[in-house]
């Protein structure tokens, strides 16, 4: 039972670590896709089939494309990341943010009782039950997420769409 988990963990952490260390941005992005696939593997291992497939569909299929397009459109050819920090302030801000996130996560992990009695294995949840839950008690949350995504999409179009004057007629 633990061997697959170990393999998934190695794939996940290895992919994420290599993505962080690689100086080539495209390689980093592709390795990150591998790490996301590892997360999907973890969901599969935990028995959450639906979430695993959704993870692959959204992250491996869609978010990866956004990342790759962003890298190619902003870097203009140079796809190697600079090794040194841009400025001292940025380095400090980066370390403070990363440290804060790490602290919150560590606190949550250490605060979780690990040696409690094992919960009885829940019956396998079908997609239908999942859908009923999402559309019933959690319908409001689903709607809000949808509205936020739509607003983000419209905002992106507004920022990107610059009306250029037409070419003068010859």
């Amino acid at each position: 039972m633990t061997t697959p988990l170990l393999l998934i963990g190695i794939l996940l952490l290895g992919g994420a670590g290599a993505a962080m260390l690689s100086r080539n941005l495209i390689h980093s992005a592709l390795l990150l896709v591998g790490a996301w696939a590892g997360i999907a593997g973890f969901y599969l291992w935990a028995g959450a089939e639906f979430v695993a497939f959704a993870q692959v569909l959204v992250y491996v299929g869609a978010v990866s494309m956004v990342v790759l397009f962003a890298v190619l459109l902003t870097r203009q050819g140079a796809t190697t990341a600079p090794v040194e920090f841009d400025s001292f302030q940025r380095a400090v801000a980066g370390f403070i943010t990363a440290g804060g996130v790490a602290g919150v996560l560590l606190g949550a992990i250490l605060g979780t009782p690990m040696d409690g009695p094992a919960a009885p294995a829940p019956a396998a949840i079908t997609v239908k039950q999942l859908g009923a839950q999402l559309m019933g008690p959690h319908a409001a949350a689903l709607l809000i997420v949808g509205v936020i995504l739509t607003v983000a999409l419209l905002g992106a179009i507004l920022i990107a769409a610059v009306d250029k004057p037409e070419d003068p007629a010859p």
Partner: protein, 401 residues
């Protein structure tokens, strides 16, 4: 001897030959081998069928010379051509550009073939033939297909060639544009049947009115519209004509395939045909009744034969389209998706909701249900089509005097 379960009996017979500790492994290995063999051969004969049919459509003969190695008199109508093609592809020189990203350049064709094969796992090929039964099978199918975009990006970027990269970005734009109508055209089926499992969707279509009129989804207003949108989107997703501009000869040379040669080039085409076959299989499963016979009295024919027959029919239909329609320009291609197919697919979603809510209407109300459902999709189709083609039609032709 039961033809219906013959493949299963064969599998169980082989599995029993092995020690019991290995049996689960052999069991899964046999499923994988069966899919690889059947669809590998299906791919080989699709290529020869495509070449022959296109030749006939263009008033030529097509490949008819390749025979058997030791019987030069026996021509077999050139049916051994795909094997000759395979040997040619394997023995060709594999050229890799000196500055290419070697790893990504190598990985791209591998990824595209591997992931396009994954979709076959959830297609119900017959009443008892379903390789993997999943509750969320449809979601799995689309998740498995999502990695082909990554492979095209890897091919374009890894080649270190401006043409490859530009064409890969165009191909990605096309794939992303058409993934939306593809998935939106499938959602109505999920809405009406209330399940994501491919087995349940096929079982839902297994009834006949008077024993001859099948209850396939394509014979409902929303199903017909959904099937048409699905067909167009599937053509675009698998880079088939009239949407084959990622690799068309008259476009940016050969697109992301520019720097590929030999067997890797063949692998890309293999992945493309596997993708097309899997999508056609999904179309058959969702809209054309899967392995169900069209009439009740034809049920004595094994269900897997029905499935393969419908699949072959759909593939021939795609070949026919390739021989008939002209290629679109890139702006026409994206406009068709975003301004026409996506709104219609969204409307069709509402149409399916109406159909699902009025399931209790019988007698004369059933006719009203059909009329309303048809009107929901036909009226916007005509209005939208007229608005989008305003100024382009009627076409005027001018000839030199």
């Amino acid at each position: 001897m039961n033809l219906e379960t013959l493949p299963l009996q064969l599998r169980d017979w082989i599995v029993d030959l092995f020690p019991s500790a290995l049996q689960w492994f052999v069991h899964h290995l046999l499923s994988i081998t069966a899919i690889l063999t059947v669809f590998g051969l299906f791919f080989a004969f699709t290529t020869i069928a495509e070449r022959k049919l296109l030749a006939r459509l263009q008033n030529r003969l097509g490949p008819n010379r390749s025979g058997l190695p030791w019987f030069p008199k026996l021509k077999l109508w050139g049916l051994t051509q795909p094997f000759a093609d395979a040997i040619k592809a394997i023995t060709k020189e594999d050229v890799v550009p000196a500055v290419a990203d070697k790893v990504l350049h190598f990985l791209a064709p591998v990824v595209i073939v591997a992931f396009s094969l994954l979709g076959f796992a959830v297609l119900p090929f017959g009443r008892h033939l379903l390789p993997v039964e999943l509750d969320a099978a449809l979601l799995y199918f689309f998740a498995a297909g999502s990695a082909t975009e990554l492979a095209i990006f890897m091919a374009g970027w890894g080649s270190r060639n401006k043409y490859s990269l530009l064409a890969a970005m165009r191909a990605l734009a096309q794939l992303i544009s058409y993934e939306l109508p593809l998935i939106l055209s499938v959602v109505p089926v999920v809405m009406v049947t209330g399940t994501l499992s491919t087995r349940a969707i096929v079982l839902d279509q297994g009834f006949w009115t008077f024993g001859v009129l099948p209850h396939w989804h394509v014979f409902t207003p929303w199903g017909f519209a959904g099937f048409l949108i699905f067909l167009v989107a599937a053509l675009a997703e698998s880079n088939r004509s009239p949407f084959d501009l990622p690799e068309a000869e008259s476009e940016i040379i050969a697109g992301h395939l520019t720097e590929y040669s030999g067997f890797k080039y063949a692998l890309f085409f293999m992945g493309e045909y596997f993708g097309l076959t899997a999508l056609s299989g999904l179309g058959v499963t969702l809209f054309l009744g899967g392995w169900q016979a069209p009439c009740a009295f034809l049920e004595f024919i094994p269900s897997w034969l029905w499935f393969m027959g419908k699949l072959a029919g759909l593939i021939v239909f795609f070949i026919w389209i390739r021989g008939t329609l002209l290629r679109l320009r890139i702006d026409q291609l994206t406009r068709l998706s975003w301004k026409f197919l996506v709104p219609l697919a969204l409307l069709n979603l509402g149409n399916a909701a109406f159909w699902a809510l009025t399931a209790g209407w019988t007698g004369p109300l059933a006719l009203a249900r059909w009329a309303i459902s048809a009107a929901i999709i036909v009226v916007p189709f005509i209005l939208l089509g007229r608005r989008l083609s305003a100024g382009f039609a009627p076409r005027t032709y001018r000839y030199a005097a």
